[in-house]
């Protein structure tokens, strides 16, 4: 990976973690409410996947702040959405779990576990139909890999040879339930084996994730049909802010955190490109400034007008014409 890209990924990872820590603080201060699912620990995967799949459509879950920002969405608009403000990317109507930005080919932000997967399949069908070659990436968790929507999608994407990259972000848990307690094995890629090529990658290694996703997208672009990638990751926080997370031992958490993706990226930058601690701190400061700015923007932003309650239920033209 070249230096520019590595730095870009590193910056976005730090930005992501800084953003999440700020979100956590603002949640505790009461500025953010509802379910807040932090991506802390998984930033290496989130950022590298977005950067690698720069062209093409992306569908993901409620744990998507870091992905949204890495995708190019304005941190101000993302933070303002968490605050429920009119300046938010979904004008405060969606909140943390529902960030959408079709201009960045980013389709959410779905809070129904597995629900976005059939949508991604349909999108991939449309892209193939339209002659676009970049394909679609759909990201989901290990927990989603037990649901009907997921399985039906493997079958259909394979039968229709769709340009679709399935990415299972396997952090080992669905809320408090360990994957091996509800599925017959730990690695979910096995489920895709009858249907498509599968690959596993260390989700705590951003460089490896980047390469794996690039490679997978190239296969797709070459008309290879769907591909399945499993990224083994670890979330440091509870499932959401309302989960105390007591089901994981200190020991387990220790092992988990010892693989920190940001630290690993720092080593990479130092070893490969001779970056210094001062330089890295500079990046961290830049990230902090961006997040501070985003939070200040969100805090100062206006509430949506009450009239917005009724907007976008239907498309404007028809509503005006017929109601």
């Amino acid at each position: 990976m070249n230096k520019l890209l590595a730095e870009e990924i590193y910056y976005n990872m730090v930005l992501g973690r800084t953003f999440e820590l700020a979100a956590k603080e603002h949640y505790m201060a009461g500025d953010i409410s509802g379910f807040l699912h932090l991506d802390i620990g998984q930033e290496g995967f989130s950022v590298a996947a977005m950067k690698a799949f720069e062209k093409g459509d992306v569908f993901t879950t409620y744990r998507e702040h870091v992905m949204a920002i890495a995708r190019g969405m304005d941190p101000r608009a993302v933070m303002a959405e968490l605050f429920g403000k009119a300046g938010g990317i979904s004008r405060g109507r969606g909140g943390s779990m529902h960030l959408f930005d079709p201009s960045h080919f980013f389709y959410g932000g779905d809070a129904i576990v597995g629900g976005q997967i059939p949508n991604a399949v349909g999108c991939a069908y449309a892209r193939k139909f339209q002659g676009s070659e970049d394909g679609v990436m759909v990201i989901f968790g290990d927990g989603a890999s037990n649901g009907g929507a997921f399985f039906e999608s493997l079958n259909i994407a394979s039968a229709q040879k769709l340009p679709l990259l399935f990415v299972c972000e396997n952090n080992g848990y669905a809320i408090g339930t360990k994957i091996t307690r509800v599925a017959p094995f730990e690695k979910q890629a096995k489920k895709a084996e009858p249907y498509m090529m599968t690959k596993e990658v260390d989700g705590m290694d951003a460089v490896a994730v980047y390469e794996a996703v690039r490679e997978a997208q190239e296969l797709i672009q070459a008309g290879h049909g769907p591909v399945f990638l499993e990224a083994m990751t670890c979330r440091y926080e509870g499932h959401s802010m309302s989960d105390p997370g007591t089901y994981r031992s200190k020991e387990e958490m220790g092992i988990c955190k010892s693989k920190d993706a940001i630290e690993r990226m720092e080593s990479y930058l130092k070893t490969m490109y001779g970056l210094t601690d001062t330089q890295l701190q500079g990046v961290q400061r830049r990230a902090q400034a961006t997040v501070d700015d985003a939070a200040a923007f969100a805090a100062a932003a206006a509430e949506p007008e009450l009239s917005e309650l009724f907007e976008d239920v239907f498309c404007k033209e028809r509503v005006n014409a017929s109601f």
């Binding site: 459509d57 569908f59 990317i89 979904s90 004008r91 109507r93 969606g94 529902h98 959408f100 930005d101 079709p102 389709y107 959410g108 932000g109 779905d110 129904i112 629900g115 997967i117 059939p118 949508n119 991604a120 399949v121 349909g122 999108c123 991939a124 069908y125 449309a126 892209r127 139909f129 339209q130 009907g148 929507a149 039906e152 999608s153 079958n155 259909i156 039968a159 907007e311 976008d312 239920v313 239907f314 498309c315 033209e317 028809r318 017929s322 109601f323």
Partner: protein, 325 residues
Amino acid sequence: MLYREALNRAIDETMAADGTVVVLGEDVGLYGGSYRVTEGLVAKYGEERLIDTPIAELSIVGNAVGMAMAGLRPVAEIMTANFSLLAFDQIINHMAKYRYMSAGKIALPMVVRFPQGVSRQLAAQHSESYEQMLSAVPGLIVLAAGDVNYAYHALKYAIMSDDPVVFIEHELLYNKKGEVDFDADIDPFKARIVKEGSDITIVSYLKMVDDVMEAVPQVEKELGKTCEVVDLCSLNPVDYKTLEASLKKTGRIVVVEEDHKTGGYGAQITSWAAEEMFYSLDAPPIRIAGEDVPIPYNRTLELAAIPTPEKIAKRIAEWGKTNGL
């Protein structure tokens, strides 16, 4: 032209005019649709636009949502209403909500069509009506085609609309004959006055409109009064203006639906009448609906479970007599 032919023609014309319209569902392509609605279309538009899907209703609607996000105009067919339950998550949590949750950034120009209702001895898992559930979902347009001309125009509208539309057909209407006025300018949201009258407003939709029309001569004879018959057409939004005008004239309203009475769609029409038109009412607004039982296979029991022209006529006449008509 038959009802199913009118639907076929609506799809055909929109597909010809707009290359982004695609149809997906079980047996919609090579087989031509289990009620023959898509017959002949695969030969014209190819398998890429008439997509035979596996039996996976959640995916049928879920894929249609994704296609719509990407700029196509999918028309998803669910073979029978009961199977749509497998897709309720995609219909209600996704299809109905993406526009709102994304503050209008995502539009879903798509249609989910299915036939519903009691046909002929298909038993409990193939005989239901879900308009009451789906009309209660903000973000969905729900149209019910009880008439051949309306079916043609409303389906064309639905396919070209930028809103997600649930388009409900009735199993027993596919071979119904009717005239289509191709040049008519039909507002799909306007209720249809099937017959004018001055003493009783009878509101209905789908197949029950025909049953009501069959019952009306008997009612009019017995009561010596005239009935105004309204086909709602759009179940959400409802054309309350037309209902209001009719009710102001007649002072009496009867809602006839095939679905079970408890929780049935008609409750919101009588409820509206009671709430908004109370001082115009000269008699209790009543509902004639199906019994609160799953639909049995046996034909006699099946018919006992739903309104028939005879039962409709009898009930309205009784109600009229005991309420001053």
